[in-house]
Amino acid sequence: MDGPEPGAEGGTYTGAAVAADIVRPFFPPAHTHALYALQEHFYVLLDSFEGPLDLLLFLVRKNRVAIEDLPILNITRQYLAYLELMGEMNLAIASEYLVMAATLIQIKSRVLIRMQTPTDEGAEDEGEDPREELIARLQAYELYRKGADFLAAQPLLGRDVFSRPQVDDFSRLPAAGDTAPVERYAVTVADLLTAYVAVADRLKAESERLEIVQDAVSLDQMLDHVTARLATHSPQEFEELARRLPADRSLLAVLFFSLLELTRLKRVRLAQEEPFAPIVVSRRRHSGDGPPVADGWNAAGDGANPFTA
């Protein structure tokens, strides 16, 4: 691949800028700063693209252009910035994304060459737009996406409308020795194969399932835990709070939400010196110097960690 490093081009549209871009609409401005540290959230968002075409379509919409006007230079830059961000987040980038990146760069270079060569001479492939094929693919993809939207908007059986319950009429098969023929069966070999595939998939999922502690920790429990911890150790870094929990993504999410909740209740303050700097969690003192009301701050000592039992 020639040319500058992906994403570094132009120097402005970096992974961090993209991150801010995606996250902003989802959270009130007050909380956005805290989100820089919570990579989990980006993970979910970036992971929610169905593939490179989905990501491209997203960028086209975000840039408020029509697909047929595909601004290849801009879109390529932004696409590569997203990939860079995925890399920063240590996401496994599916090979499809990389193939598309190569395609974009190739189209871009062909567009640049065309722009540099004046039309008067050597116009061998004049008239052929290097973006043509990609535009057609995006347009076709978008049509099926709208087909999917149409399907999703239908009144779905089992969600919006309901019918009589299915009965298992397997018992209607004649018993052994019964010669009366049952002529029609609503089964085919494809059903048999499908059932086998279902079992195989289930088995596979089983073998890949991580060992996760079944008892999920409730927000209330986490509030108590954080409160107890901060009663003796304040201020302290978010990372430190997180480190004291078993490594589990859902626990981390609950911890994060408990901090947002405590911030809302004005019981803790979250601070960060600059974007991506560690988040410092500190306990807020009540105004006045009377003893804190019975709000649980002093209830438990340091040792009360319900997760390490």
Binding site: A140, G147, L151, L156, F162, A190
Partner: protein, 191 residues
């Protein structure tokens, strides 16, 4: 057709609608009623449909997948979901995209689906197969003989489609919404 036989017809069809877990086709009705007067059956079905609609109560007659069935009114769905207490039917974006492609281009192979979506679709295809929304119908006569997928009757039943041709023309989706008006948030929508 006399009104007495029309009445009897409606009566019996109503009983059958109650018993059937799958849509009743005109052919099945004719067989059970031992009537080969298709018009009589069609008239009875029309009457019933109209009657339930005017009554506007717990259930309606729905024409779906080439047959008829009783379904609850959409307005009552929250109560029924509470009664059934299971997870309501949900589809991921990937599943809906793949279904749309199979529905519009069937019979279609996995490489063809992959090409449209730009990603490997084998996982989604397996999911749709085991949910009985698509099925395998032979193999395509090209190198590697990939399997051909088609939608099932169950697909029509779940998505409330009378026949495959009740799907709107894919080209009509062309300019439904101007690209710029879709909010960022809509990518999160599922199901």
């Amino acid at each position: 057709m006399d009104s007495a036989s029309l009445y009897t017809c409606k009566d019996i069809i109503e009983s059958l609608l109650l018993v059937a877990a799958e849509p009743l086709t005109p052919a099945a009705l004719g067989e059970v009623l031992e009537i080969d007067d298709n018009e009589l059956i069609a008239a009875a079905v029309d009457h019933l449909e109209d009657e339930y609609r005017r009554r506007n109560r717990g259930f309606l007659l729905q024409r779906v997948g080439g047959g008829i069935r009783l379904v609850t009114r959409e307005e009552n769905a929250p109560y029924i979901r509470r009664y059934i207490a299971g997870k309501p039917v949900r589809f991921s974006r990937a599943a809906l995209e793949t279904l749309a492609i199979v529905a519009y281009r069937q019979p279609v192979t996995r490489p063809e689906i992959d090409a449209v979506r730009g990603v490997d679709s084998s996982g989604v295809i397996r999911q749709l197969l085991t949910r009985e929304l698509i099925t395998i119908k032979g193999r395509k006569d090209v190198p590697g003989s990939p399997m051909l997928y088609v939608t099932t009757d169950r697909f029509l039943q779940i998505f409330n489609l009378r026949t495959l041709s009740s799907l709107p023309d894919i080209k009509s989706f062309g300019d439904l919404y101007p690209a710029a008006e879709l909010p960022l948030l809509d990518r999160q929508v599922e199901g």
